[in-house]
Amino acid sequence: MAGSLNWIDYAVLVVYLVGTMLIGFRLSRNITTGRDLFLAGKTLPWWAVGFSLVATDIGGTDIIGVGGAAYVHGLAVGNFEWIGCVPAMIIAAFVFIPLFWRAGVYTIPEFLERRYNASVRSALAICWFVFMACNLGIMLFASARMLNVLFGWDPIFAILLTAILVGIYTYSGGLAAVVYTDVLQCIIMIGGCLLVLVLGLNDVGGISGLVEKIRAVEAAQRPAGAAVPEMLEHTRLILPVDTASPFPWTGILFGLGLILGPAYWIGNQAIVQRALGARSEFEAKASYVWGALLKNIIPLIVAVPGLIALAKFPDLAKGDDAVPTLVARMLPMGLRGLFLAAFMAALMSSVDSYLNSAATLLTNDLYKRFLRPNSTDEHILRIGRIVTVVLIVWGIFFALLLGRIESSGIYAIFQTLMAFFQGPALAVLIAGILWRRATGAGALVGFIGGVGCTVTLFTLNHQAIYSRIGWQPLFKIAEPFLYFSIWGFLVALLLVIAVSLLTRPEPEEKIAGLVYRWREKKAA
């Protein structure tokens, strides 16, 4: 596909980029305080936040990677957008988001200090900040590599173009620019992927044609004498415990649906921050419900193209070639530019969110909290903008560094790192909001113990370690990060409960308004 773009394709891309920058510049006029930069002055409407939630969640690498995973493992990868998102977003909308919004906080760690103490806030803020700062570089690097493979772009040019454009509008317009550009980016992303889906389905003879072709591919790939399954392997959402893929139903339901999904939609600062900027509590809730509705269609437009590629090109060397091959062979000139714009939109909508949220964490939870507690909102605006610039420079540096060491597994490693602390962080958050008796000491011990548990499991499951001590691997599936999160969550929750019961309860006046009131809800 490299080099297969013409001037019409590039014109489409330029129109998209110019539109994005215009939105960013238009919104920069309203930024006069730190609250404007980080919470958009609490003026965001529900529909914009809802689009932004979805756009932030789908990165550039997901557009290619999810289709690639569907090509290899089937539609089970769609679980990440369905059971991994929709239930968590609905629960967040009615239980967690209203409490965060009403508390008037900038960040989740700030909420945790009010509920528990400064140690819990610092531990969570540092974990999230380090992850987000590194993830900036990883997203830029992984996407630049894809742009190189897909369109022949020089990786350094791709990194600099993305980082500078995103940096400019995030610096000037803050969260408002991030959210409103996300709206445009989400529409372009959905439009571009929908185009591939519709043209692809048309090409393989509709849904029935797709099913027949996949049936033929599976029959050709099945070993001689093997039983014919009742359902097509590639269209199943629920896979057995002993599946060769990383998506057994146990990991999907317990690890993804009950832990990683809620941890992401309730505890990820880059996600929750836009809802904190909603103009009312009702609009914050509505944004999550709207996002959940949109999420229902996402696997259709990002995973099903992988199945179409399987039907048309069953002999590709690797899954990540699936969507690019489909686009190169099926889309005419001009429409490829729309797909490129969709890819860039997905990339930029994630990078801008992580940039703004990392800046919020560093400015609010570390600088303001520990160095300058009495600083004015105008001073915080200046610091926030300086931090944004420093972070974008860091992101470029880290992306270039990753390019030099050529570590192909770095993206997977950082996803695993996120699984290390997301389960324990969710346990601390859930206990704090749903259980009045949870204490600061319990939360800190639970978080540290939960992270310790996941790191231990990861270490013992690493080939270099288990072969050295003469063990078998602890988990039998590839990339068992879903299982790490289950155990991390359970250990953290048990420790929070045990230590909380052994320590003095938090005063009622301290936790008022920060805990979900079960009895009042029932009475209402």
Binding site: I83, L237, I238, V241, F282, K285, W290, L460, Q472, K476
Partner: protein
């Protein structure tokens, strides 16, 4: 075999005995339970503050839209 392996193997053997149809039932039970919870939420939690009953626009009925989302999920996990 370490104690960790024995615990893991016991859990794995137990889970392997659960047929996929029952696993699908667990997914549906989770989603249906959530749907019931959403439907029982008080009106004050799912419509704009201060709005009068009967005068809330369809676009503002969060209970309705959350239920639509969950019903779509139930259909997806029923069929695929």
């Amino acid at each position: 075999m370490s104690p960790l392996h024995q615990i893991g193997e016991a859990i794995r053997e137990l889970l392997l005995k659960i047929p996929l149809s029952a696993a699908r039932g667990l997914f549906l039970l989770f989603l249906a339970g959530l749907l019931v919870w959403v439907l029982t939420l008080p009106r004050s939690e799912t419509s704009p503050a201060g709005s009068e009953p009967g005068k809330v626009r369809l676009s503002e009925k969060l209970k309705f839209w959350a239920a639509v989302s969950l019903v779509l999920q139930i259909l997806i996990y029923l069929l695929l």
